[in-house]
Each structure stands twice: as C-alpha cells, then as structure tokens.
C-alpha cells in the first residue's frame, strides 16, 4: 500500500471508479448497463448549471441550508481545551445530513425519468429522507430495512410509512444494514427498467461513492466559509462519525488539500475492538469486496462478512466508503474508534451542557472530541459534525439507562 505523496487528495476517483486500489464496480452483469447509464447521467447533470441551481434552491428552501456553525461554549469550557464548534446538520429537514444526498439523487432520478425509488436504511434516517423526497415529488418509494433495525428504530419506521413509503424487512443474513443493502441490490436487478437505487452513503459501486460525496460536500464547503467568517482562518481539527462515511466525507473532502487541517474519522468500537462486537472496518478490518466496491471490511479469515455491532444502528455496517480506505492508507485522515459506552456518555453530556440531543452516531464523534479537546490549546479550532438529532434514539437510550417510557 502506497503512502507516496500526491499533489491533491481531491482528484479521485479515476475513470474506473478507483481511489488507489479501492472502489470499482463489482456488480452483477445485469446491473452493469444501469451503472454506466447512471454514471453518464450524473456527469451530464454535474455539467448542467440548471441542475445545481435546482438542487441549491431545494437545499435552501426545503432542507433549510446553510446549517449553522455553532460555537459550543459550555462544552468548550467543560473540556477546558480546544474551541469546539458543531456543524449543525441535525437541524436539516428530517433531522440528519442524509437529506443532502437524497435531494441530489432524487433530482437526478427525475432527470433520468425514473419513477420508482428504492433505498436501504440502517437507523432509518436515510429511509426517512428518501421517503420525504419521494413524497415531495410524487415518486413510489420502497425502503429495505433489516428486521433487527425495524425493531430498534420504530419511530423512523412509522415516519416512513406516514410519508407513503413501503418499508420492506430484510430477513436474510444478520438482518441489519448490510442485508438491507443486499435486498435493495436484489430488487434493482429485478426491476432495472424503471427503478433508481438511492444509496445512503459513500459506498456501493462507482459512481455512488463519488456522487454521494459530492452531494454531501455542501457540509464542508459551508463549514469552510463559515469558519473563515467567524474566526478568519481554517479550523485546526475536523471530527466526524463514520458508518458508511458520508457525513464524514461531506465535511472532510473540501479540506483534504488544506495540509494543516487535522482530520479524524470516528468508527464505532461497540463493546470494544477486542470483543469482535464492533463496527470499526478500518481499525478492526481489512480490504475485501462487498456491495460493489473494494474497501476495508469486517470479515473472518475465510472472507465471510461478519456482523457489525454498535449501539447506533447507523454505524452498524461492516464496510466503509472506499475513499476513506484510500485516505487511511495515504495517512491523510486518521481513523479512530469510540465505544458504545463512550458514545452514551457523550450523548448525555451534550444534552445537559448544550441543550442539544445528538443522535447516537455523532455521539461517537463527540466522544472522541471529549478525549482530545482537553489536550489542545484554547485557540485550537475544532469542528465536530453534528450530523443528526437524537429523537430517534431516545428509546434505545432509555432502555440502556433502565428507564421505562
């Protein structure tokens, strides 16, 4: 694995969809023509100013962008080190960053004349965002969700149904996010004519990792502008949680060539990296091929994919977007992990100190902020991506804290 210097970290993927050795198009032949068609359609849309203008308009008036960059003063005081900012993507319509990507993909689906939208979801946030956009544009929406996740994310299941989506339980394998993705791919193979697959993270076959990254990059672009306006300079450290890696990539990508910006992705360490009950693909996995791309994966010695575990359904994925794998090998981004317990402590602290109930996913990022902020000087600018709100998680948290609702 090469760690040679590159001129820019922002030029990938190449025409085969590769970031270094990661990414690619590892799909069944049935899907290949569709993926090539999507790649072309996305290229055309990207070059068409009216597409970006339409997307910008929906992001402003429907999603509620730009999201604030908020100085978390009491948390900063409490930790006694770095000056901590939250990028408040939890204030977006539907409560997470997922809608940034969904708006882009749904507008693209409309351009392509597709009438039937399928999606996979873990925590339900991507499913809710997709159901929302489909309702807004009158499109049929089918969301695959692992039956285990349906059980632990009931409010989001109901939300999707209210929005007119059909929620189909994935009953195969470990019955979580990876299986929902398998089911969505199986649906796509069977319905190639009219169906658009709206993937929820920077994974899947090329061009998805690139496309989802581009749609999420609005997070980092805004952060850069806002930080320059507030502090007159770039941040020193960026921290974001990683499931598939879309909120993290969205924040990171615009900063990759700003060499002095330290960038940290936080994976879910579950019950601990040594227990195997975790979802830390980079920290605890190795390269393999799943869901259309080569990337770091959790698997056994025989190449069988193992189940991820995390308190957070949104991080519970045994893979990670291929661009992250490359950034890891290139040592441009540092990947660390936070346990269920640490995330839960961060969740509670944030509620009390900032009056913000974070989702369990960014609570992992916050847990890492709690570890490193005290070691930094007071003029050290740290941005954490508050990529989702915790309304969906209160039942899980109550359960763990032994509170009956």
């Amino acid at each position: 694995m090469t760690t040679a210097q590159v001129n820019s970290y922002r030029t990938g993927p190449d025409e085969k969809g590769l970031f270094g050795i990661y990414g690619g198009r590892f799909v069944a032949e049935t899907l290949m023509p569709l993926i090539l068609e999507l790649e072309q359609a996305y290229k055309d849309a990207k070059a068409d100013p009216s597409f970006q203008a339409e997307l910008d308009s929906f992001l402003e008036h429907y999603v509620g962008r730009p999201s604030p960059l908020y100085y978390a003063e009491r948390l900063t005081e409490h930790l006694g080190g770095a000056k901590i900012y939250f990028k408040r993507d939890e204030l977006n319509h539907t409560g997470a960053h997922k809608i940034n990507n969904v708006m882009g993909q749904i507008l693209l689906a409309r351009r392509m004349g597709k009438k039937r939208i399928i999606a996979e979801t873990g925590a339900g946030q991507h499913g809710v965002a997709t159901a929302t956009a489909c309702a807004r544009f009158g499109l049929e929406c089918i969301v695959y969700m692992g039956s285990v996740d349906i059980e632990r994310q009931k409010p989001n299941v109901f939300r999707m149904k209210l929005l007119g989506a059909e929620v189909v339980p994935a009953l195969s394998g470990s019955r979580t996010l990876k299986d929902a993705l398998n089911e969505a791919l199986r649906d796509w193979v069977a319905n190639v004519e009219d169906t658009f697959y709206c993937i929820g993270t920077v994974a899947g076959p090329h061009p998805y990792p690139e496309m989802v990254r581009d749609f999420q990059s609005v997070i980092g672009i805004e952060t850069k502008r806002q930080m320059l306006a507030r502090e007159g300079r770039l941040p020193d450290t960026l921290v974001a949680a990683i499931g598939g890696g879309s909120n993290a990539m969205g924040l990171f990508h615009p900063f990759l060539d700003d060499k002095d910006v330290e960038i940290i992705g936080v994976e879910a360490a579950g019950l601990g990296l040594r227990t195997r009950k975790h979802a830390a693909s980079i920290t605890g996995g190795r390269p393999g091929i799943l869901h259309g791309n080569r990337t770091y994966l959790l698997m056994d010695d025989d190449g069988q994919i193992t189940e991820g575990h995390s308190i957070s359904a949104g991080l519970d994925y045994p893979g990670i977007g291929p661009e992250h794998s490359w950034l890891h090998d290139m040592k441009r981004v540092q990947y660390v992990a936070a346990t269920d317990k640490e995330a839960l402590a961060a969740f509670q602290l944030c509620c009390r100190l900032e009056g913000i109930i974070p989702a369990l996913e960014p609570s992992h990022a916050l847990a890492h902020v709690m570890k490193i902020a005290p070691t930094k000087p007071k003029d050290h600018l740290m941005v954490m991506n508050m990529c989702g709100r915790g309304d969906k998680d209160i039942f899980t948290v109550a359960d763990i804290l032994g509170v009956k609702l």
């Binding site: 590892f26 394998g173 990876k178 069977a190 393999g288 869901h291 010695d301 069988q304």
Partner: protein, 272 residues
C-alpha cells in the same frame, strides 16, 4: 489445448442434445452429504457440475440459494473445503467438467494466485464469479485464463447488442445466459424471450450458450434445450435438499436420493 468443458459440449453436440448443468452449494447441508450428492450427479444425468462457493452476502441469489450457503457455512464449509470437494470428486471422475460459482471476496481473501493454483490442481475447469463484470477483468478473469481455467460470463436480458461484445471478450468455456431479470430461483423464465435472446446472442459468440435462473421442471428444461446448448438447474435442487432435511436441519436418509431423482427427472426432459 481443449479443456473438459469444450470436449463435453462437442461430444453432446454430436449426440444432438443439450447439456444438463446442475448447481448445488458446496458443503450443503454438510461436507459428507454434499460429497455423496456430487459424486452421484453424473450418473443421475448431469453433464456439467457447478459448485456454489458459499458466501454470507450473495447479492444475486434468491432465498433458496442464500439459505443453502448459510447451511453450508454453519456446517463449517470453507474455501479449502470447497477445493477439497472438487479434488475428491475428481479422483473418481476424470471427465465431467466442474465449474466453481460464487462471489469474489472469498477468492480475494484466499489470494487470487493461490486460488487459481489450488483450483487447477484440484480439477476445476471453469469459474463463474457473479460480481466480476468485464470492467474488472484484471482482477481474476485474465489471471484465470493464464492459469488455463475458463472464465465463464453471465449474459443477461440487459446485455444488448451494444454491450454483448464487451461481455464476450475474454470469455471461454460457455456463456451462461441468465434467463430472467432478477435473482436466482424466483421468477420463471419466459420461454419465447429466452429463445429470442439466445438466438440474438449467437450473433456475438460461437461459444455454447447455457440458460439458467428459474428452471425448475423437466418440461421447462425440455423447452429451453430446444434453443440453448445447455440448461442450468440450481435453486430447484437446493430446495430439494432443504425439503429433505430433518426438523433439526440435519440430512436425512432421503437427502441424497431427493437430489439425484430430481436430476434424473430433469435429465429426461433435456434428453427427450
């Protein structure tokens, strides 16, 4: 050098009939039973044998083959044992072609070079790897050709005349035409469209074309054998294994027989 697959199709062409290609998952329901099933397949009427290499996340397979893979994995099947199964079969049968079918990750993790070397020496003739389209030929297809193993490609209803040359480049052995849009074992093939598509694809390749996905009965097999050079039966056999298991999911005295008698039945369809 002509391989077993080429020889077998040539031989059957002389006899004027299509090949019956049978698919079972290696190690389903367990290694010993699987070996017995496989050893008896040629006698039951199989002309070419496909072993599925079990994988936790088979994105192109329906519930029957998904479940078969999990049964095999729970019974301790591994890549080493997949190859051992081929070796043990090959010890008693030098002529029946063996094709390994599966997904790339277990091969990648085993190591491509090591896999090709071990597969060749075990007696494997061809590979079908579902998630390696022509765009990824550098990964395994080209090394397989160098190792003298056929790389068999799937062609599908979405393989139009523009795409076909890409799909058939670097393909050898035979072409596997996936007769339905969808995953294994769910929809039944529309026989008219199968015939039309097989004839269309013949304009692009001289290789034999075998048709599969959704073939369950002797009557379907007979109808497909009229236009195709081979008929693939998979989910139906795998379901026969499942239906023969005890309540605890263990093989019963009927398991091996159930598969062989279904193969005999379908073989009569192909041969009539």
């Amino acid at each position: 050098m002509t391989g077993r697959i080429e020889r077998r199709f040539a031989e059957l062409k002389q006899k004027g009939r299509a090949a019956l290609v049978t698919f079972v998952t290696a190690g389903d329901p367990d290694y010993e039973t699987s070996l017995k099933i496989i050893k008896g397949l040629p006698k039951a009427g199989a002309d070419i044998i496909e072993f599925g290499m079990p994988f936790t996340d088979p994105m192109a397979d329906g519930p029957a083959i998904q479940a078969a893979g999990l049964r095999a994995l729970h019974a301790g099947q591994t890549m080493k044992k997949n190859l051992k199964l081929v070796r043990e079969f090959r010890a008693g049968d030098k002529e029946t072609p063996v094709v390994l079918m599966g997904y790339y990750n277990p091969i990648y993790v085993y190591g491509v070079d090591r896999f090709l070397r071990d597969a060749k020496s075990a007696g494997v003739d061809g590979l079908i790897v579902v998630d390696l389209p022509p765009e990824e030929d550098d990964e395994l297809c080209l090394p397989a050709i160098t190792a003298d193993i056929n790389f068999i490609r799937l062609a599908t209803p979405t393989t139009d005349d523009q795409r076909a040359p890409t799909v058939f480049r670097n393909t050898s052995g035979f072409v596997y035409y996936v007769s339905v849009l969808g995953i294994t074992g769910t929809k039944a093939p529309d026989l008219k469209s199968v015939e039309k598509n097989v004839n269309r694809l013949r304009k692009h390749t001289n290789l034999p074309i075998a048709v599969g996905f959704g073939v369950k009965t002797a009557a379907q097999a007979r109808a497909i054998a009229r236009s195709a050079d081979g008929v693939v039966v998979g989910s139906a056999l795998v379901s026969a294994i499942k239906d023969s298991l005890t309540k605890a999911g263990k093989p019963s005295s009927k398991t091996v027989k159930a598969v062989h008698s279904l193969v005999s039945d379908i073989a009569r369809g192909v041969r009539s």
